[in-house]
Subunit: 331 residues, 2 copies
Amino acid sequence: MPDLSIDVVAKAAGVHRSTVSRAFSRPEAVKSETREHILRVAEGLGYTMSPLAQALRRKTSTIVPLIVPDITNPFFAELAKTMTQAADERGYQLMLCVTNGDPAKSDGYFTAMQAMYAPFGIVAPSTKVDTEALKRFAFGHKVVVIDRVEGDDSVPTVTVDSRKGIMLALDHLHGLGHTSIGYVSGIAGTHTAQDRMDAYLELTAQSGSTPVVLDSGSDLDAGTRGAEHFLAMDNPPTAIIAANDMVAFAVISALGRSGLRVPEDVSVIGFDGLALGARFNPPLTTVRQPIADMGHIAIELAEKQNVDGSVDHIVLEPELLVRGSTSELRK
Amino acid sequence: MPDLSIDVVAKAAGVHRSTVSRAFSRPEAVKSETREHILRVAEGLGYTMSPLAQALRRKTSTIVPLIVPDITNPFFAELAKTMTQAADERGYQLMLCVTNGDPAKSDGYFTAMQAMYAPFGIVAPSTKVDTEALKRFAFGHKVVVIDRVEGDDSVPTVTVDSRKGIMLALDHLHGLGHTSIGYVSGIAGTHTAQDRMDAYLELTAQSGSTPVVLDSGSDLDAGTRGAEHFLAMDNPPTAIIAANDMVAFAVISALGRSGLRVPEDVSVIGFDGLALGARFNPPLTTVRQPIADMGHIAIELAEKQNVDGSVDHIVLEPELLVRGSTSELRK
DNA sequence: TCGGTTGCTGAGATCGGTTGCAATAACACT
DNA sequence: AGTGTTATTGCAACCGATCTCAGCAACCGA
């Protein structure tokens, strides 16, 4: 394969390199006959432009990093899936970066991406993001965060309304006759996680019941510990809200190992709306986040910021997804 | 941030650009004092080399595509996780490419990666890979496949011993007293999927029982259909082998919805060893694939092929992981 | 017919490195 | 001292595009 560069196409088409360049990158600047001729020749040669060379010269590439703590967590996997697609549709290539919760890695990715002239990046954090730290990196000025951030409006964000989501869960459970409802926090140490918990605390108090936080940890074992706590109680709640689906899975699994059945003995509701939940045993009732929308919106916000400089904060609406892990209270 | 190029470092260090280049890329070619001086100056300026410019000139980059059909499938997610790490350790950056099972997309990724001068790529296919098609792309000569390939030894592969895995599952179930054991195929249309099924058929016949294939589909609903088939049988098997963990989840979920309990009423064993399985209800007994090893080995094979031209076919050993979804047969 | 646009295309510098080759210095040996 | 290495470093072309500037032709109105 004789290396195909812009010059060989130019020669083959009998024009100058710069004309070929324009034919591809700025079509309106070339007489249409010329352009079509060039494109035809290029096509015939099987030529495509080198994204590397373009990026080097233009100082901006089409590769967009998505930084997630753990791709093994289905929430991030679903996010990654929709984002690859959203990116693709707009001509970007998504580069998946997995930090395993290590902020140092995340910094490393930032500088690497900056060196690659990434036009912007998306971060799905596992901790409350420090916008100051973010902005110490030049690249930090061009990221959108999939979480709420505190005190600083200069970073675009996408989130779903945590309070609304918890309210949905609570209302659903109340409707089924449950009045004593426990809560298990979980996994991420994000603002979103905090918000969900706060909403639970506040809304429960408002309805006159006393909140029962079964576990407030933020690691993978929160579900298991929450279940243990539940089992050790004299007067346990009749329903449990899990901060996210993964935790709900763990709770149900741990409960099951101790002989308790869901939803017969306890109702459990999750938060996320993972596709996986539909194949759980029992299928998980949950509050759905519009993950696909989040992905698309994240990219839009990033692009918008890049052109306008505008910084938006989008809050999406969650939605109740009733499946099989909750049922009417029975005495 | 005044653009940091090799020239500003050179000026600051009082040497020529090429010396700076060597100090970084070919340390032994520079007097050690000079090198240390340059490195110190660079460090002080916060300079790092542009991977883009390097790739352009060297005609080889450090970005490695991992092509998977669906990142939402935890098997591929775990693979992606270990591979990002394995890649990282060797100085590559993994670029995740999701095809959604569309071979055309996969072709597109190939040419894109070739344009990016990727040194090689890893493919985890969702269908039997056609090595001929693979090699129509120049890039096809530099890919390692995470599946068996047929009739063509020119492509490095990593797989686990399917027959051994099925044997492990069968032996485990036999040991628990089960003699009538069904099988649900699932999801991927790969050689591996085929091999597992063939092994089941063959080994079952060998042990004198008659195979019961509950579903042989290769889509996400195989588990559900398999369970339906099971429920409709007059004399259903007492245990089920699922071709992979995701299918096992679906089977158990569907069985559960019909009031059947696992493992009390039916034993179910999966194949994959996903971390998720430990948090299923019940925790899933399964045949573990050494996914982490697969990731590392895939990268090693690719590198090896790149230098030697050598093509290896590595077959890894599976391992039985007994958790809670199988139990002694009771009448 | 002539100056002024306007539309296209070519020249050539540039992006940030790499690398073969030449030049110089330093050292060894006869 | 003369000559043949060998170790370092500088020079300049090159990778594959982009983009500013300039040149040229066609077209416009007076």
